[in-house]
């Protein structure tokens, strides 16, 4: 298990290759990568991500540990950035390795659902017109109900 909270960018390809280089018992590897989307209006200058140092690492570790209890996983990776990002920048990634694809997929979705609503990150969208905190979505909270 590897949990990384960092300001600097990460290389999705290098991380995916390093993660997949593990043992041969895991036939299935799933990655999810979150990318800063531009706004519908197309004028997002900066996405600022605030976090709670200390609690962030604890929360991500707990989410990953819970996933390892629920599914038969070979390995779990979570990387999440904070600070100032631009449209197209990669915000975060999770990766799961498992003997079976169903486990790898479900665990990755679980990590994402919990990470969205239970890891202490807050996003702020900065445009030439001002700055707005991104509101939590009911559907993200509702997504937890399925687990």
């Amino acid at each position: 298990m590897r949990i990384v909270v960092q300001e600097q960018e990460f290389d999705l390809g290098a991380e995916a290759n390093a993660f997949a280089a593990g043992d041969n018992g895991n036939g299935a590897i799933v990655t999810f990568t979150g990318v800063v989307r531009d706004l519908a209006s197309g004028n997002l200058d900066v996405m600022e991500i605030e976090h709670y140092p200390g609690m962030t690492e604890r929360a991500l570790t707990k989410i990953a540990e819970d996933a390892q209890v629920r599914w038969s996983l070979g390995d779990v990776l979570v990387i999440h950035r904070y600070g100032r990002l631009a449209p197209g920048d990669r915000i975060m990634m999770v990766a799961t390795a498992a003997p079976h694809r169903k486990d790898a997929f479900e665990a990755a979705e679980y990590l994402m659902d919990y990470l969205k609503s239970r890891a202490p990150f807050w996003k702020k969208e900065i445009t030439s017109g001002g700055a707005d905190w991104v509101a939590a979505k009911d559907e993200d909270e509702d997504a937890l109900a399925r687990w």
């Binding site: 605030e50 929360a59 609503s117 807050w122 939590a136």
Partner: protein
């Protein structure tokens, strides 16, 4: 105890962290005490349903006891991922 604020709670209260001496028994008591102290707290804590609280870096509830707690954090619902 240390009290931390994040995102718009931090902006409304105007600082990220402060040391508070309090006899408040629960989170709700602490919220009432701070809200009575200054308008900026009252504004930040006006709608508790829009807030979350963590005690010693674990998500908790507003009726939780503060006994033995060293760090309280207030923030809006999280928007990671």
């Amino acid at each position: 105890m240390d009290v931390l604020y994040f995102a718009w709670v931090r902006e409304r209260i105007g600082l990220p962290k402060e040391r508070i001496e309090t006899e408040a028994a629960t989170v709700s008591d602490l919220v009432a005490e701070l809200s009575a102290r200054e308008d900026r707290y009252a504004a930040a804590f006006a709608d508790l349903s829009a807030l979350r609280v963590a005690l010693d870096q674990e998500l908790s509830d507003f009726d939780a006891s503060l006994s033995g707690v060293r760090e309280v954090a207030f923030f809006p619902p999280m928007t990671g991922g």
